[in-house]
């Protein structure tokens, strides 16, 4: 069953077609990588899937609902309820501790629950670092906090934008292992990357070029 479906989606900025008649679908529980060089339309697609932008044309079905025509206020609600975001730059609130950063996500979603937030940090191996401020955490640790923050509200979809772009290899592996674990638990993952190694960790890779889907690659080695 598909969780996300883009039908004939185009995004046009004046003359520029950032996305040109794109059709993709992602099944429930699937782990998909989106690859492509700079300017291929990755960011635009990410914004649309992340409910932060609307396509010029076409339909975007998330969990069966067309989100392409929703108001931005409604999009905020949908994003909050269904999507967990992980960013390349981590983006933590720099004056809040690790656990408080996780709780911010709970706060906007429903109710802050410190115990649950600490458990989520435990899952990413940072239970001991919960009271540290971002400035006291390494990049890898910050990204793990962000993963904990993304999964705290049990989203249907985790959308990661170059999640390992600023990490060394050891931390990259830790994050990918976390994704694998989430995938096993049935979370749908979409990872935008230009790192082939990261893409290879996914079940399927969609390659974008010039705003179009150039090809889709099934990773036959997945899970091995």
């Amino acid at each position: 069953m598909s969780l996300l479906e883009l039908k004939n989606v185009s995004k046009i900025y004046g003359e520029l077609k950032a996305l040109d008649n794109v059709n993709i679908h992602v099944d429930q529980g699937e782990w998909v990588a989106i690859m492509g060089p700079s300017g291929s339309g990755k960011s635009t697609m990410m914004n649309i899937i992340g409910c932060m932008d609307k396509p010029t044309k076409g339909e975007v079905l998330l969990d069966g609902v067309d989100i392409s025509k929703e108001s931005s206020k409604h999009l905020t609600d949908i994003r909050r309820d269904k999507i967990g975001l992980v960013f390349q730059q981590f983006h933590m609130v720099n004056y809040l501790t690790a656990v408080e950063n996780v709780m911010v996500s709970q706060y906007y979603h429903s109710l802050p629950d410190e115990k649950e937030a600490l458990e989520a940090l435990g899952r990413v191996g940072l239970r001991e670092r919960a009271r540290h401020l971002p400035s006291q955490l390494s990049g890898g640790e910050q990204q793990r906090v962000c993963v904990a923050r993304a999964l705290i509200n049990h989203p249907e979809l985790i959308l990661a934008d170059e999640p390992t772009g600023n990490l060394d290899e050891a931390n990259e592996n830790i994050v990918l292992d976390l994704f694998a674990q989430l995938h096993k638990e049935g979370t749908t993952l979409i990872v935008v990357t230009h790192d082939p190694e990261v893409a290879e960790a996914a079940q399927r890779t969609i390659v974008l070029e010039h705003g179009r889907v150039a090809r889709e690659v099934i990773n036959e080695n997945f899970g091995k």
Partner: protein, 486 residues
């Protein structure tokens, strides 16, 4: 954990862990609140302070006798009882009498008063030398001192010429109505004629009563009934001559002569009232630039010794009150029906009111300007805070923060700062007002408990208003900016 607790936790963390930036905002609110609180305190206190200052302009209420009868100490006390004691700065009694300085053949208006009170009701009096402190000491107006050439240390012999019932040429100022003469003389065939005359202050006959019952009824006996005959005496000075000053009653020359004789004898036999003289030391020369320089001032006691009567012409009051309160006190004194007429010195009460009006307007204006500057400063700081936190705001929105959440967070921070700055300002403002008060007015002020909530609430409102524009900016931030890998 409730959402509210998380909200407060985020706000306090934002304020406490980003101290330097927030300190600037806090400082501007705090300074604004300090000046606000200080000026409000002064604003509340100015009328009191200025009232006390303006009392140096002199008396603002005058008590006068209601009718002909002079005031006395008892009625003055009754009138003063209508004014709260703590508001009564001073009450100075004055009794004006003409005294002669025989050695120089001069006479001056002299005032008997209470010098302790004079210094309270007329603080602008300037004295060369000192105020009299005991009896037989006088304060001489500069004008008189120059005319007769007295200095501090000189002595003056002052004489009181009593209502001088029979002294011709007595001064009109010394008028004492009511002196009476009674006399008798032998009339027709040994019958005695009795006459009583009331004299006015100029020793002229004001009223005359004749008892001619011993005289022959149809002749001299008419003297006590004939109005035309009696009327001739009115306005005449003694002694009188029959035929020149008054005409005889027709057919009763002997009786008429007896009436005139009775009056002349009474006048001649009446013990002349002795003028009283006292010696005074000049201890001070009064310089005011006003009419007071033409008076000689002495203690009430001395004047009583000279005149033998303890009466007052007027009392000058200095009351710590505004025009409305003064009107109320005046009405109370009138209402007490003790024969005292209060009058407000409009020149003083009006100038007080106008000075106060200008001062309060100035305080209001300065406060408004300071609040405006505070608002600009806080707004600028919050604007900087918003651009500094663009990324964080974008992140919060990406995490699902609604526009209202963002508004609430910034408004919350702003108002928290406002409250903190307000408390700070209320305390510092009181100190500021105290310093101003002590230095400018020379007296301390009392803390107004209402000041704290007022300052805090106004500061919070100012802070909230200052946040409006920055919040508009914050809400406009696009959450997608966090994705662009900047």
């Amino acid at each position: 954990m409730t959402r509210r607790r998380m909200f407060l936790r985020m706000i306090t963390a934002s304020l406490l862990r980003r101290r330097s930036r927030m300190l600037i905002a806090l400082l501007s609110i705090g300074i604004g609140a300090t000046i606000l609180a200080g000026l409000v305190t002064i604003y509340y206190d100015v009328p009191r302070q200025m009232g006390a200052q303006l009392r140096s302009y002199g008396a603002n209420m005058i008590l006068l006798p209601e009718g002909e009868e002079k005031l006395d100490t008892e009625r003055l006390e009754q009138a003063l009882a209508q004014i709260p004691a703590e508001e009564l700065v001073g009450a100075t009694p004055y009794r004006y009498v003409r005294l002669d300085m025989t050695s120089r053949q001069q006479s001056f208006t002299s005032a008997g008063t209470d010098f302790e009170q004079v210094q309270k009701t007329s603080p602008y009096f300037s004295v060369e030398g000192r105020y009299p402190e005991s009896t037989r000491e006088v304060l001489v107006g500069k004008e008189i001192a120059e005319t007769i050439g007295v200095r501090v240390g000189s002595t003056m012999e002052l004489t009181y010429q009593p209502a001088a019932a029979f002294a011709s040429g007595s001064a009109a100022e010394d008028r004492v109505p009511g002196a009476t003469l009674s006399g008798s003389a032998e009339g027709w065939s040994g019958g005695v004629v009795y006459v009583t005359a009331a004299l006015d202050g100029d020793a002229r006959i004001a009223q005359i009563t004749i008892d001619a019952s011993t005289q022959t009824e149809e002749y001299g006996g008419r003297a006590d009934e004939d109005e035309a005959f009696a009327a001739q005496f009115i306005g005449k000075s003694l002694p009188l001559t029959l035929g020149t000053d008054v005409d005889a009653l027709s057919g009763a020359t002997v009786t008429s002569a007896a009436v005139v004789e009775a009056l002349n004898t009474a006048r001649a036999e009446a013990a002349p009232v002795q003028p009283r003289t006292l010696n005074f030391n000049v201890v001070g020369i009064l310089v005011t630039g006003g009419e007071e320089e033409g008076y000689v001032f002495m203690s009430t006691e001395d004047l009583v010794s000279l005149t033998g009567e303890n009466k007052l012409d007027v009392a000058e009051l200095s009351v710590l009150a505004n025009a409305d309160q003064l009107e109320a006190y005046a009405a109370a004194i009138t209402g007490a029906e003790i024969g005292v007429t209060p009058r407000l010195v409009k020149r003083v009460t009006r100038s007080e009111a106008s000075v106060l009006e200008k001062l309060t307007a100035l305080v209001f204006l300065v406060t408004a300007v300071v609040l405006l500057l505070t608002m600009i400063c806080v707004s600028t700081t919050m604007m900087a805070v918003v651009s500094e936190r663009r990324r964080e705001i974008g992140l919060r929105k990406a995490l699902g923060a609604s526009d209202n959440s963002i508004r609430a967070e910034f408004l919350g921070e702003g108002m928290f700062l406002g409250a903190l700055g307000g408390v700070m300002g209320a305390v510092l403002g009181f100190v500021f007002a105290q310093v101003v008060s002590v230095n400018v007015f020379g007296s301390s002020i009392t803390f107004q408990p209402l000041l704290l909530p007022i300052t805090v609430i106004v500061s919070m409102i100012i802070a909230a208003l200052s946040c409006l524009l920055p919040i508009k900016r914050a809400v406009a931030i696009d959450p997608a900016l966090v994705l662009k890998g900047e």
